[in-house]
Amino acid sequence: MKLGKMAWRNLWRRKRRTYITALSIGFGVLLSVTFTGVADDSYTKMINTSATMGLGHVTIEPGGYNETPSLDKRLANASSIRDVLLSMAGVNNALARIMGQAMIASANKSIGGAFIAVDPVEESGGLNLFIRSIVQGQVFSGSDGQGVLVGARVAKKLNIGIGKKLVYTTTDVNGEIVSEIARVTGIFETGVSEVDGSMILLPIDRVRKILGYGPQDATLISIVITDQRRVASMRDQIRSRIDDPDLEVLSWRETQSDLASIITLDKAGNRIIQLLISLLIAAGILNTLLMSVMERTREFGVMMAVGMSPSTLFRLVIMESIWFAVLGLILGIIITTPWYIFMHNHGIDFSGMVGNDYSASGVLIDPLVKITMYKESVTGILTGLFTLTMLSGIYPAWRAGHVPPVESLKEL
């Protein structure tokens, strides 16, 4: 009889114990998928949301801009760089933008804030969170007009509404103070109070004129890529395509280091939890296999007496742990699939518990918790649990082969 067949039959000597152990592995699959899937889904949403808040997944900007942003640092040839970027595979869009600080004033009050100057023709809700979050009015129509889109809390603080005027004041390329009047065309509400309370969107060509920028100038090019997981390789590809020592090509991890730190910390916590769960599952498997080995001490003695070598006995028990792993993973897939389908398509809405303003590092976190699994995560979970089960079998397998047959035969 082949070792695999024998190991399979050994598994079924105590059916209930086998099912319980396999279920614990299956439960491990469910927990791992849930933890990993929720994290992957929320990280992807946070990263993608953050990418539509101005900087993109990858940003091209003048050298030193990231450390000390200033309106006198600018790209002179944004349009031609953009054309190069749009021809690259994996780039969803690339948008020239001017970002800066401004004083925003109405007839009643003034506040400190920030602006992003955009071309409304190129922008869309999918690429721009502020346009996506418009709750009143609409985005300004031309890139050279005097329209402005304001955050809901800005409007509230300045006591202005649609059609009302505001004045924004900033510094131009020469460091001179410049001002411009704009009329509110729309109000957005992202749900992140610090953003809604400080941000305005302006037409890019109008801002270029005020700042003394050339017609192709911008402070940065914001690049949205199709798959945020490939950001490092996309950044490197873009860097080699642009090949300009005066420009910096940075990923969101570099431009938004706070968000990157939060995600890294969260991932670390998640891994610790998964490790603890894995250890619990491993302890269960180890216990089952060890009991199963100890119950068969005499039988193993007989096997060795009739000529089975300790190494073959070791392989037999390892084979049993492999079967446990296969059975557990199949059970895991069976119990996890309906859960995954539900959580991926519908999810659980926690907005009642956390409210609508739930953000981290200025990035909105969706209170609708869903699960999204990537191929590499699925492979990682299945491989990890398979390896864990196999490793749990090593000590029982070693023990099986190391009891001298004469001692084993004395066992009842």
Binding site: M6, V302, M303, M304, V306, P310
Partner: protein, 231 residues
Amino acid sequence: MDDQSIVRLEDASKYYRQGEVDVRAVDGLSFEIHKGDFTALCGPSGSGKTTVLNLIGGLDVPTGGRVYLEGQDIGLLSRSKISAIRRDRIGFVFQAYNLIPVMTAYENAAFVLTLQCVPERECRERVMSVLRDVGLDGLEHRRPDEMSGGQQQRVAIARAIVTRPAIVLADEPTANVDSANADSLLRLMERLNHESAITFLFSTHDQRVMDRAHRIIRLHDGKMESDEVLT
């Protein structure tokens, strides 16, 4: 050692400690077993019968003296070499049958051949032939829990002889079966010894075994009391 000698013990001893007491399970034992022998090791419980079988079978190592199997000093061999010798040259029959419960009669009998990597067709022919020899024709698909004690011991004998070993070591083979089955098993082993020249060494205190043995070695407190060749 002559050509016909399969087993030779030279002043073999096995001492071990049990609590505060030194036990001399085998104490300076010397004898030879020849090809075709049908020998019984007799003696009361604790006389060292099973220990002698364990030493010859390489399941235990002597604390003194030497044990040779087909000219090889078992005490000098590595674990893997001893495993190979047990697999290829020795057949074991235990008092409590010790079949593998998840295997059928056929699979139990074929177990050692599988370890030897004998081709499947040859394995099948040899196992079926041996099962016929031990009177289990038609029962090859039964698992141990579906067979009587006598039938299980026949499977154990089939497992022991299917590899054509140099010697079969049988530890109280009739102790767990009724007298009818014991007689039948003894006739079977006698026939295998007679027709196939398989060497048997029994440990026993069953008079029926002693009555059929060609030679009786009597042990007492680990020492040889007598060595009697019967005609």
